[in-house]
């Protein structure tokens, strides 16, 4: 995540190369000082490996169904099995993978869309701002869970991971657009925007090349937080029966299927729960580290 950040930004704005690079180096250095965030990043990457490389190495895939019912954790089934005889380790790998795919896709779609929406609104102000933000308000007014439920009932693809990702993206973009708009509103008054305008840059170029890169800190933090909230939203949706459906699986589905097993087969309830908490926790800490790194005021406070 941090590496893509370093490589992408300088190319995007050649004019500002030195300034950007030094700033990004500063950000990186500040981030690395946040030990909890760095530790979380390492852990998060390990979870990603577990989810995407694990299935290649482990003997049972998620479709394996020939195990015994409700076997507690053992050498053969390190995380135990469920009633149907699925290997929970294989299922957890796949579940983590699907949940991560969902949340990364949501972070990508919602952030891109929300950032553009907010930037356009903030850049033009006036009636365009009014219309765009009222539309965002509609989405924000709708209690998200209701829409998610109605939409996923509707979509045939609601049962597939990408369908769910689309639904959740639809709910996440509006909040991000608000935040980005706020940042852009203050950025547009600064000299470098004036300069770009004076040099005859088009509106689109100003938004994409100048405003968005400078709001990058905010956007990245928003994207990070979106990952964490999406993981939890997916779980909540599964709980009320509107998530990914078997034979595919997700962490939300696993934990939902285990909600009656808290007492009798605790491994089914606690392991997937642990994965969810680990992902959400590490991502939140990474987000916190990034926020501190991008927002020097916080570090200045240190006494």
């Amino acid at each position: 995540m941090s590496s893509s950040l370093v490589t992408k930004a300088p190319e995007a704005t050649p004019v500002l190369t030195t300034r950007q690079r030094s700033q990004l180096e500063l950000v990186l250095r500040r981030f690395l000082r946040h030990r909890l965030a760095v530790g979380s990043l390492v852990l998060f990457l390990l979870i990603v490996l577990f989810a995407f490389v694990g299935p290649l190495l482990w003997k049972y895939d998620y479709a394996y169904i020939d195990g015994p019912s409700f076997s507690p954790p053992s050498a053969q089934y390190p995380l135990g099995t469920d009633q149907a005889g699925h290997d929970l380790l294989g299922q957890s790998m796949r579940g983590t993978q699907q949940s991560l795919k969902i949340s990364l896709l949501v972070a990508l779609i919602a952030t891109t869309f929300g950032a553009l929406w907010g930037a356009v609104a903030g850049f033009y102000r006036g009636w365009a701002d009014g219309v765009l933000m009222r539309l965002a308000d509609v989405v924000l007014t709708l209690p998200s869970i209701a829409i998610a439920v109605t939409l996923s009932v509707n979509l045939q693809g609601g049962a597939s991971w990408w369908g769910l990702a689309l639904v959740l993206s639809f709910l996440a973009w509006a909040g991000i657009s608000r935040v980005v708009r706020g940042v852009v509103l203050s950025l547009r008054e600064q000299e470098f925007v004036e300069a770009a305008k004076a040099m005859g840059a088009s509106d689109l170029r100003i938004i994409v090349r100048h405003l968005l890169p400078n709001a990058l800190g905010t956007i990245i933090v928003a994207a990070t937080v979106t990952i964490a909230t999406t993981i939890l939203a997916e779980t909540a949706l599964s709980f009320i029966g509107f998530g990914v459906q078997r034979p595919d699986t997700s962490l939300g589905l696993l934990i939902n299927d285990a909600k009656l097993s808290v007492q009798d087969q605790p491994w089914l309830f606690y392991f997937p729960g642990l994965f969810i908490i680990l992902i959400a926790l590490t991502v939140n800490f990474i987000g916190d580290g990034l926020r501190d790194a991008f927002d020097p005021r916080q570090t200045l406070v240190r006494r």
Partner: protein
């Protein structure tokens, strides 16, 4: 401020500690692998289902029975009101003519009637004799007027009711006249000439009687279609203050609970001993066992699963029993699919599926007595039950046999792909099941794995609307359940005859049609069962529907209460609600 945060961590500590003990608890039960189908207090239910857990009661006490849904309509004849929970909750209020005891025998409600008999075959005539002392809770006698009113609400005829929405009109629509005599205490029901309704015992039994005189009192003219409609709506909307049974509604807390007390005017032999019977609505299955352990309910009869059975078994002072009900799960093929139209492929599919191993991973996990079902109409234990499936080899999981059926019919399996006679690959079949049903999802995965052995791919898709999926036959294979009943004749006709409402997969065989129609109309139960079994044998060979298993039922209660026992029929454990009570010391 500090103290608050401490309180919080304290709570978390409590949570953590309780988890440890619970885990230990769960671990303990693991060693005790053999789950019997019942424990101590219910142990004799296997042998004597009608009398187990019986005993003398002492007066007083409150019994809290959990129901899996809430309900809004008080008129159980309507499409909206006709739910299992409503009829359970109202079983102490609405008088019924017949009720099934736990063994599946329909018993005349001898508190209400002295007799209900078929007196003539053509035209079919049934005579009900109401007891003189059978009265509604306001003292008005139960009479022929009540029988006529029910008929008008259910017949589906515009001249009876302008806008009634009955859940089912079967039987009611065949009645020609209902005449009261002997001061309304004798009721003669005559059916249309030449029409027979074999399941006549279901009339006034699966629903019951509503007090017509109260509707009249409200100003509804029951001789006019609009009046009947208004009366029907009034009964739907109004919380009953009336009763024709042992109990009377005390309070109703919408969506939460229904509290019943004794009906002072109850005319039956056994007077209720409990002060109150409370029905609590528990929609979330995960809440049942915590509520039971917390004594927020004292008994329930929910759809069973492993966690509920274990939870009931592990709660101190609770007895439970797993019974076998009238719902049965089955796998259907859609014969409109051009590949499935070939009987050889259908036979091969059913042969490759091992029903026993499907059961082991689903119901068998908590119900050790679960076994494959061999009939499409009857259940083991019924004298009419005849296993017509096992002899065909279907459900055996015998892959070699399945392959042989296919190769004999000219199919080929090459590179793990099934090819037809013409060398065309058989495309993937869409297997549908209702969303959120874990056991069906498991079945789907197991079938998928089994059919891979004969080179057939299965694509599993959930459905949100089972009704629409079925009625539009939007599936290649589907798993769902039929709700059977001791009254079997009507459903056989409905489900297996060409073009009928329940025959979603378009099965058609003239011999089956003829035998089933004849069986469904016969008023001689023995002959009827014989004909239906003959038809079933033909149908089973043609591999249209593969019965999987009878759905288990579960009933549990704290053992300080007696006379509560499992009843797998639709009359459910509430069939003898007046007998429930605290165990006398």
């Amino acid at each position: 401020m500090r103290t608050r945060s401490k309180g919080l961590t304290g709570l978390i500590a409590v949570a953590a500690a309780s988890l440890l003990t619970l885990t230990a608890c769960g671990g303990g039960s693991e060693s005790n692998k053999e789950t019997p189908t019942s424990n101590a207090g219910f142990a004799d239910c296997e042998k004597s289902p009608n009398t187990c857990n019986s005993g003398n009661t002492k007066p007083g006490g409150e019994y809290i029975f959990g129901l899996e849904q809430s309900f809004t309509s008080w008129n159980i004849t309507t499409e909206e009101g006709n739910t299992l929970v409503a009829s359970q909750a109202l079983s102490g209020i609405i008088p019924q003519v017949f009720k099934s005891d736990p063994s599946g025998e329909l018993q005349l409600n001898s508190d209400l009637l002295t007799s209900a008999e078929l007196t003539n075959q053509n035209p079919q005539t049934v005579v009900y004799k109401i007891k003189a002392d059978a009265v509604w809770s306001d003292g008005t006698g139960i009479s022929a007027e009540d029988f006529i009113f029910m008929w008008k609400m259910n017949s589906g005829k515009k001249e009876h009711c302008s806008e009634c929405t009955p859940a089912s009109t079967s039987g009611w629509d065949l009645i020609k006249s209902i005449v009261g005599s002997d001061n309304g205490k004798t009721v003669t029901v005559t059916f249309e000439d030449g029409k027979t309704y074999a399941d006549w015992k279901g009339l006034y039994s699966t629903d019951g009687l509503y007090p017509a005189h109260l509707a009249t009192k409200q100003g509804f003219d029951l001789n006019k279609p609009e009046g009947v409609n208004s009366a029907s709506n009034w009964f739907s909307e109004t919380v009953p203050t009336w009763s024709g049974g042992p109990l009377l509604i005390d309070t109703f807390n919408k969506d939460q609970s229904l509290v019943l007390k004794k009906n002072d005017k109850w005319y039956g032999k056994v007077k209720p001993s409990l002060d109150k019977v409370v029905f609590k609505f528990i929609i979330d299955q995960g809440s049942v066992i915590p509520a039971l352990r917390n004594k927020e309910i004292t008994g329930m009869s929910p759809q069973p699963n492993a966690a509920l059975v274990n939870g009931a078994a592990e709660t101190p002072g609770v007895i439970y029993r797993i019974g076998h009900g009238y719902q049965w799960e089955h796998l259907d093929l859609n014969l409109k699919n051009k590949y499935l139209a070939d009987v050889a492929l259908r036979q091969a599919i059913f042969t490759a599926i091992n029903v026993k191993s499907v059961i082991d991973k689903t119901y068998g996990v908590f119900d050790k007595a679960a076994k494959p079902l061999g009939s499409h109409n009857f259940f083991p234990g019924d004298p009419n039950y005849k296993d017509v499936v096992t002899p065909t080899g279907q459900g055996s999981g015998d892959v070699e046999k399945a392959k042989k059926i296919l190769t004999d019919a000219g199919y080929k399996i090459e590179g793990g792909k099934l090819l037809t006679k013409t060398g065309e690959a058989v495309p993937a079949m869409r297997f549908r099941h209702t969303k959120g049903n874990q056991l069906r999802a498991t079945t789907a995965e197991l079938v998928q794995a089994a059919l891979k052995n004969i080179g057939l791919d299965i694509k599993i898709e959930v459905t949100e609307t089972l009704g629409k999926t079925l009625s539009t036959a939007d599936y290649d294979m589907i798993i769902f359940a039929w709700v059977g009943s001791p009254l079997y004749q009507g459903s056989a006709e409905q489900n297996w005859v060409t073009g009928n409402g329940g025959n979603y997969g378009s099965y058609s065989n003239p011999d089956v049609d003829k035998l089933t129609n004849e069986g469904a109309r016969s008023l001689d139960p023995k002959k009827a069962a014989d004909l239906i079994n003959q038809a079933n044998e033909i149908m089973a060979k043609e591999a249209y529907v593969l019965p999987l298993a009878q759905k288990p039922t579960l009933t549990f209660t704290y053992s300080d209460y007696v006379n509560i026992r499992d009843n797998a029929t639709q009359w459910s454990p509430t069939y003898n609600i007046q007998e429930w009570g605290q165990k006398a010391a």
